[in-house]
């Protein structure tokens, strides 16, 4: 495939165009690189994230559709949750449908005067009225469009639930089955444009440049993935394999990050979930690993004579967010909560962090039954959480409307910032391993655990495989994040990062006619880093006001209590390095 076609869709005029931009793709490869540059050039500084001008960018890279486990699509937007860089990654079939359509990027802007869903078939775009599916859950919407919206090949269906329609700042976009653009509020941007769903398919097939080379590399990746024990783990227990090991090192967030040990971790462990609740595993297209775990929930109805069952995707982060961190101790209760979140279309991590903030705020008397409309919030009280979620879904009162806007918004309005566990306004991922995890969440461009995986540095230090060294730790975080910009420009699933080494990446790129050297990749990732940070800073991300939530300093992390002085120093060290990176890029 040429790997340089961009489709632009304007929802205000119902028009679209496709054009080529070889220069952009030549320089930024694809995925996060290309999307960052596109967003940067749009100069979104004075744009309200929920206004018609606010763009939605979807991008894939030059290896998608060709090699296994290059399965992600990057979504880039202005985040309504944080006000700055919005970026979220999702798997499923979306990358494949874009590849089949021959589109490397899709940019959607404008606002439809009424609810619509878009059907993209190759370079054609249809706009359909969506009044009848407005209000449908994210799951029902997929079922309906699957039988309603025809395609010209395997389709990918991405859609919002009621949360996105309400412009909940933590609304996600669901992608096919069990994958999501989960973070930073993309669902609200869809909702603000009256965009319920996008269905994509394509009929194209693209010639292989050099078959022998391609075949060799394909087989190497494929069989590495199938045979490697690390990848097997992703298939067997999935990401929930982490529950018990993290609990063991006191790093599993429990009751709003009060401790790293959850007494019922066993019940929510990957082992127990697999043994007793797993219905099946599924995979993103072209991924032999298949890490997506669907749990089954069986519920009686009508005097316990009848049963109904649901399949609900679960992963480590949802288990932390709606499980351990809310002290939910049974898989049944957890799956029920996840089912509501999935249907409503909220990002599960922000939802969990917001509920855990609310519970602690209630305990401390910052909010009361006046706000909650009579509900008493307690950690572990699954039935009340269920009611809270439905009240949020229905926007029952001002408070429940506010909960839709996430933990940072709520803490700002009601108080309790010190225990609203978010970084850069994005709800925390599920690790209390130590300062490197937190530093990664704070300084990573997406405030995601996948930015730089600081928890794995913490784990190494806990295990004694590495010694403490604040300045080296900062450097390692930056190094890891910058390498991941390359993987994310090729939109490789980060679970396959051990397979996609730099040598393999260079070889794979070479096989599709992109000849690069290690040094060039390094320069590109630096540049991407600089651009992302420039977007962040332009849009209000203040390098001088960076803090961990105060509560975390009192918590016993996997690495023990954090020394505030040292952490402060690391943050300032990190920010000066970021400033340096930006300066270097400007000098170029």
């Amino acid at each position: 495939m040429t790997n340089n076609k961009i489709m632009r869709i304007d929802l205000s005029s119902f028009k679209s165009e496709v054009y080529e931009d070889p220069k952009l793709f030549g320089k930024y490869l694809g995925g996060t690189g290309v999307a960052t540059k596109l967003l940067y050039d749009m100069n979104i500084k004075n744009i309200d994230p929920l206004s018609p001008e606010s763009p939605i960018i979807l991008a894939i890279g030059p290896l998608n559709g060709i090699y296994p486990i290059a399965t992600k699509t990057i979504a880039m937007f202005k985040s309504p949750l944080t006000g700055n860089l919005g970026e979220s990654h999702a798997g499923g079939r979306l990358f494949m449908s874009m590849y089949d359509a021959g589109l490397s990027a899709i940019v959607i802007a404008g606002k439809s005067p009424y609810p619509v869903f878009i059907v993209i078939k190759d370079e054609e775009v249809e706009f359909h009225r969506a009044y009848s599916i407005w209000g449908q859950s994210a799951l029902a919407t997929e079922r309906i469009l699957h039988s309603r919206a025809e395609g010209v090949g395997k389709r990918s269906i991405i859609r919002i639930g009621p949360a996105g329609e309400h412009k909940s700042l933590m609304a996600n976009v669901s992608v096919d089955t069990g994958r999501h653009f989960g973070r930073l509020g993309l669902g609200a941007v869809f909702g603000s444009k009256n965009l319920k769903a996008v269905v994509i398919s394509g009929s194209k097939r693209h010639k292989t440049e050099n078959f022998a080379k391609f075949n060799k590399i394909y087989n190497k990746i494929f069989w590495d993935a199938v045979k490697s024990p690390a990848m097997k783990k992703y298939h067997n227990l999935g990401t929930p394999q982490n529950v018990l090991p993290l609990n063991k090192i006191n790093s599993l967030p429990t009751r709003n990050f009060s401790q790293g040990f959850f007494e019922n971790a066993e019940a929510l462990s990957g082992e127990n979930m697999s043994e007793n609740y797993l219905a099946q595993q599924i995979a993103c297209a072209n991924c032999p690993v298949g890490c997506i775990h669907l749990g089954v929930l069986r519920e009686p109805f009508e005097d316990n004579i009848h049963y109904k069952s649901f399949k609900i995707p679960y992963d480590y982060e949802p288990i932390y967010a709606m499980g351990t961190n809310l002290s939910i101790s049974t898989p049944e209760a957890l799956l029920k909560l996840l089912y509501i979140v999935e249907r409503a279309g909220w990002g599960v991590m922000e939802t969990g962090v917001t509920l855990s903030w609310a519970t602690e705020a209630f305990e401390r008397g910052i909010i009361g039954v006046k706000e909650t409309d009579g509900l008493v919030l307690n950690f572990g009280d699954f039935e009340t959480y269920e009611k809270v979620l439905y009240n949020m879904w229905n926007m029952k009162n001002e408070f429940y409307g506010d909960l839709n806007n996430g933990s940072a918004f709520c803490a700002e309005k009601y108080g309790g910032k010190e225990f609203a566990i978010n970084f850069g306004k994005n709800g925390s991922p599920g690790y209390i391993t130590g300062r490197d995890a937190f530093l990664g969440f704070l300084m990573g461009v997406r405030h995601s655990h996948l930015d730089s995986a600081g928890y794995s540095l913490d784990e190494k230090i806990i295990k004694g495989e590495m010694s403490e060294d604040p300045s080296a730790e900062v450097d390692l975080l930056i190094k890891e994040e910058e390498w991941r910009f390359i993987l994310n420009s090729l939109t490789i699933c980060l679970f396959a990062r051990k397979i996609y080494t730099e040598d393999l990446v260079l070889e794979a790129l070479d096989s599709v006619g992109i000849h690069r050297k290690s040094e060039q990749l390094k320069n590109l990732s630096r540049r991407i880093h600089a651009l992302k940070y420039k977007i962040k800073i332009d849009n209000g991300f203040d390098l001088d006001k960076l803090e961990f939530p105060e509560k975390l300093y009192r918590v016993q992390t996997g690495r023990g209590k954090m020394d505030k002085g040292v952490v402060r120093k690391m943050i300032s060290d990190y920010t000066s390095k970021i400033r340096e990176i930006i300066r270097e890029a400007e000098d170029e």
């Binding site: 559709g65 060709i66 090949g153 009929s203 693209h206 494929f222 599924i282 297209a285």
Partner: protein
């Protein structure tokens, strides 16, 4: 005894499409699912159920019976052999296959005929497909 393809563990399918990629790659040298002689069909929703349609190498193939020009002839070990020069692009073979296993290349307007080679099964990480021995009259 002859060897033909079977779906042996449908419920173990993860929907990864490695099988379809393998088939297209082998016979067309292209990275796509579209040129595969078999299909993994998706069902909507979180239910995540897949249905696999692959030529089972019939001894009395309906597709060949439906072909008006003998572009499909019965293969010794089951299934069919495609004679491209005789194909008049009528689509009757696809319609005749009750399993919906016979695939179609919409660009060449020709059937994608399974060779009963077992390569898709080799690439299935979950043991869903297999080349199995069956009795001659089966």
């Amino acid at each position: 005894m002859r060897k033909v393809m079977r779906v042996v563990n449908r419920a173990q399918c993860t929907g990864c499409y490695s099988c379809m990629y393998a088939c297209s790659r082998t016979y067309f040298h292209i990275a796509t699912t579209k040129l595969s002689a078999m299909r993994v069909k998706n069902y909507p929703g979180v239910e995540g159920a897949f249905s696999i349609r692959i030529c089972t190498g019939c001894a009395h193939p309906d597709c060949a019976a439906a072909c008006p020009t003998e572009a499909l002839t019965v293969r010794k070990d089951g299934g069919v052999i495609f004679h491209e020069e005789k194909c008049i692009h009528c689509y009757k073979c696809v319609e005749a296959c009750t399993l919906n296993a016979m695939q179609w290349d919409p660009i060449a307007r020709e059937p994608l005929v399974c060779h009963q080679c077992g390569i898709c099964a080799e690439y299935c990480p979950n043991g869903v497909l297999a080349l199995v021995e069956v009795e001659d009259d089966e």
